[in-house]
């Protein structure tokens, strides 16, 4: 799909021939994120549909206690230090950003009075600034008013390297100017197509200036409010035990009428995913459990008890196989898989293409992941209903055999193919994880039928995902022919995510294997497309570039996508949630309620 076709589709939405949601779903199918698709529409003058809130209760409180279970408990409650989602979720009970992202990729105003657009003057034509109007009459839990000073302070706090926030990436290059008591302008150093980062969603939760002002920089770790949050959110802080329990009580001065519904909230941490699912679906001790990394078979069995259900939210995690473009078995200048080498077998495109049709994604989905892992052909997220027209996956051993025969790979006496004295033997590594080992076995079986000898290797997750320079088994060193893991997209915009195939991100000894491109793939067209997308202000043109990048990666079999893994939550039958695959589970906690 190119720019022209995209414009055609947008025109259809304008005429009303295609629904807004239909358009977004189609874009997601092409490997774009919903927020990006939504941005394309608003840029083209199609107003963002303000999804009507499904919130029914007509008065504040009275809902009793909401009990949620996080099998990895929150360990800290300052959003600027929240590394993992567990900490972000814990902070999200008390803190709010200016806007969040709903499941259709729309911006949902939280502390912002309105969404900036070109039409309302919020967005600058040159893409170098955004004006945020803040909601008036909002107070912090201690009664102090929320103003533009707080927003400016959050920028100063997060951008200071001495504070060592994990949100620094979103704040270090921007400038924030206070225009009046409830308006700020965010200025970018260069035209920035994706402006919904600073002050938005997971990185945008705002902390109060009056309580953190004295604890900037190196003193940040001493702030008492790090552990006793005072935010603007629907629930006020009561008690926190790191790794175990976060408790909150209703904020009777919340800035939205009739919200929230529950009188108190408890977030219990610890344990394991299966028993968490049990506590919600089978015994009903809890109302909600997060991140159900549980085999679908077990989930289905637990759902039979009738107390709750699994809610599956499309997000952007993908289990994929990476194909090494360099030679992992020869050492050059003290490193294996050096970018100076070429892989001895994958140089032949037939081998890569054969591998691509030997991955039986259908069986992996059916026998291993079920609803929690859906077969896919695209590298970027891809819900099953909207499969990309550009890319298809198939499982076909005969085709693999044909491809290899045609390329001159002949079977030896042991059934393994040989060409020019090189045996078709590959080593395939992944982390120790039961579904992964099962997937490996399925692929090995198919490869055997095609005359490829696959040696399987499993590395403990603590080693495999570490950045330990001395260890040869990390995923970034990639000292094998193939490897498999899940990559997660943490931001609604694909720009940062897609830089993992750029040539300047190649992991090497020189950058201490910090580069994010372990496949060491190098492609000028891809590099150029990424650079162009970085500065392209027209979201439609930019989307076309991302689609092209996705297709390049798949066409060249740099990676072989296996399954797309949506988010799974266990929810009790009476609880009504508001979930999004582009934001935290609790992003819209204010809208949660229990049906009577």
């Amino acid at each position: 799909m190119n720019e022209h076709e995209l414009r055609h589709l947008i025109a259809k939405v304008k005429r009303g021939a295609l629904s807004r949601r239909g358009f977004i779903q189609r874009m997601v199918g092409l490997g774009l994120t919903a927020p990006l698709a939504s941005q394309m529409l608003s840029y083209s003058g199609i107003a963002q549909a303000q999804a009507p809130s499904a919130y029914k209760p007509t008065k504040r409180g009275g809902g009793g206690a909401l009990k949620v279970l996080w099998w990895q408990g929150a360990t800290l409650l300052n959003p600027h230090f929240a590394v993992g989602t567990k900490d972000q979720e814990g902070s999200r009970i008390f803190y709010e950003p200016l806007v969040g992202w709903d499941n259709d990729g729309n911006m949902v105003p939280m502390l912002a009075a309105e969404i900036p657009t070109l039409q309302n003057g919020g967005l600058a034509r040159d893409g170098k600034s955004v004006i945020w109007k803040l909601k008036k009459g909002v107070t912090w839990h201690d009664g102090m008013p929320f103003t533009a000073d707080d927003v400016v302070f959050n920028w100063e706090y997060a951008a200071d390297p001495a504070t060592s926030t994990v949100s620094i990436g979103s704040y270090k290059d921007i400038k924030v100017v206070k225009l009046d008591s409830h308006t700020v302008r965010v200025e970018f150093p260069k035209p920035t197509p994706f402006w919904g980062d600073a002050f938005c969603s997971t990185r945008g939760m705002l902390i109060p200036k009056h309580l953190f002002d004295a604890y900037r920089g190196a003193k940040s770790r001493d702030a008492p409010t790090n552990l006793k949050p005072v935010g603007t959110g629907p629930y006020k802080f009561v008690d926190f035990k790191p790794g175990d329990m976060v408790r909150g009580v209703i904020n009777t001065a919340y800035h939205e009428p009739n919200k929230p519904h529950f009188d108190s909230i408890e977030m219990k941490g610890g344990g394991d995913a299966v028993s968490a699912a049990r506590a919600v679906l089978q015994t009903g001790e809890f109302d909600y459990a997060w991140n159900m990394q549980v085999e679908d078979e077990i989930l289905l069995k637990l759902e039979d008890s009738g107390k709750g259900r699994a809610i599956i939210t499309p997000g952007a995690n993908i289990e994929h196989i990476q194909v090494n473009n360099t030679d992992p078995w020869t050492e050059v200048d003290g490193e294996r898989s050096s970018a100076k080498t070429k892989h001895p077998l994958f140089g032949d495109a037939a081998v890569r293409r054969a591998l691509n049709v030997l991955v039986d994604r259908g069986s992996v989905e059916k026998h291993i992941y079920g609803r929690t892992g859906i077969a896919t052909a695209n590298f970027l997220n891809n819900p099953p209903r909207f499969t990309s027209k550009n890319m298809k996956w198939e499982f076909n051993v005969d085709k693999a055999n044909q491809l290899l025969d045609a390329a001159g790979w002949k079977r030896g006496s042991d059934g393994i193919r040989v060409k020019d004295g090189k045996k078709l033997k590959l080593v395939f590594q992944t982390s120790v994880n039961q579904p992964r080992q099962k997937t490996q076995a399925i692929i090995k079986q198919a490869c055997q039928k095609a005359g490829i000898d696959l040696e399987l290797k499993a590395v403990t997750a603590a080693v495999y995902f570490s950045s330990d320079v001395a260890n040869p088994d990390t995923y970034l060193k990639f000292y094998t022919d193939l490897q498999m893991y899940t990559t997660t997209m943490t931001q609604p915009d694909p720009e940062v995510f897609m830089d993992q195939f750029c040539s300047w991100q190649i992991a090497s000894k020189e950058n201490k294997w910090q580069g994010r491109n372990p496949t060491r793939w190098k492609n000028d067209e891809y590099d150029k497309a990424w650079r162009a997308a970085e500065n392209e202000l027209d979201p439609v043109k930019r989307a076309a570039l991302f689609i092209r990048m996705n297709d390049l990666v798949i066409e060249n079999q740099v990676v072989i996508p296996v399954v797309y893994r949506p988010r799974v939550a266990a929810v009790s039958n009476r609880l009504r949630t508001s979930l999004s695959g582009w934001d935290n589970d609790l992003f819209n906690l204010r809208d949660w309620y229990r049906e009577g």
């Binding site: 800290l76 994990v166 035990k241 790191p242």
Partner: protein
């Protein structure tokens, strides 16, 4: 006596230092990076990680880090958790009451079961009661806690729906309800740990009492015409307890270590589950503090039992 104590104390110092060196080196050499999550997250620039590593002194050579840690520890500073960004002692102190309660009551339960059962079984060796008690003790000893824990959950929480299986440290109820809720949720973890511990202690008590009951002085006591109850309680058990006391004493550090697996299964927020989360997050200061405290406890309690032993049996002299 005091010279003996002093000498024993002097022995403690080098062993504590030795243990801390071993623990520190092993942890420093172990794979894993506390800021690993930062490394795999593309939105976080590499400088943040480098900055944090520098701030927490992770890039310095091991021996420097060790001396810094040791110096701080001597001054009572247990370190600073990477994951929670709070002082380690706060974390540990926050978890201590729950562990003390759960593990303490399970040890009590174990004693309450093991003492009478072991003594009764020994006074009537090879009777039906002894056979049943021995069989049950062997079973309890052989079944690991994660197995009995899951079984209890399955039976009492899922099929019968009587007891909760998620342990909550702070229960909002007040008065009698508060005690009742605490009791209800503690039943299963306490039972799992108590019976496991009790099973092995029953065996020890039984064999200790059996050893003593055949001695001549017991026969003398009996022939004096003392009631059987008095013979057993006053003369047999008291002497048989010496090895048992040592054994129980040596297991006391478990109170602080918590029963790691059981705490994980029932989500008991104790020291054991703190250790597990810390290990998973590569939060070295916390791992170091917890393991170090445990090993120190073993040493100190060893010392105490040495002293106690001599006090219980004056024939053992301090030299």
């Amino acid at each position: 006596m005091s010279r003996y104590l002093l000498r024993q104390l002097l022995y403690v110092i080098p062993s504590v230092i030795g243990i801390s060196i071993v623990l520190f080196t092993v942890l420093a050499l172990a794979p894993g990076d506390p800021f690993e999550e930062l490394a795999t997250n593309p939105a976080i620039p590499a400088e943040v990680r480098a900055n944090l590593r520098a701030k927490f002194g992770l890039d310095d050579p091991i021996y420097q880090r060790y001396f810094r840690w040791f110096g701080a520890m001597v001054q009572g500073d247990w370190g600073f958790s990477f994951a929670s960004r709070v002082n380690v002692d706060d974390l540990i102190l926050g978890r201590l009451p729950v562990t003390l309660f759960v593990i303490g009551s399970s040890l009590l339960l174990a004693l309450v079961v093991a003492l009478p059962v072991g003594v009764l079984a020994a006074t009537r060796p090879y009777s039906v009661f002894d056979q049943i008690a021995s069989t049950l003790a062997l079973m309890g000893f052989a079944l690991p806690t994660f197995c009995t824990g899951l079984l209890l959950i399955l039976v009492f929480s899922i099929y019968l729906d009587w007891l909760p299986f998620v342990y909550r440290a702070d229960i909002s109820a007040t008065g009698w309800r508060w005690y009742w809720e605490h009791f209800r949720q503690a039943i299963m973890p306490v039972a799992v740990l108590g019976f496991f511990q009790g099973a092995s202690w029953t065996r020890y008590v039984r064999s200790a009492v059996l050893d003593v009951i055949r001695l001549d002085y017991v026969t003398t006591a009996r022939s004096k015409g003392l009631a059987e109850r008095v013979v057993v309680v006053k003369h047999v058990v008291r002497n048989a307890m010496i090895p048992v006391v040592t054994l129980v004493g040596l297991q006391l550090p478990a109170i602080f270590g918590g029963a790691i697996v059981t705490e994980q299964i029932f989500r008991v927020p104790g020291i054991g589950s703190l250790l597990i989360t810390a290990i998973l997050a590569n939060d070295t200061p916390v791992i170091m503090a917890v393991t170090f405290v445990l090993s120190c406890l073993v040493i100190v309690i060893n010392l105490l039992t040495d002293v106690l032993y001599g006090w219980l049996d004056p024939r053992i002299s301090y030299r």
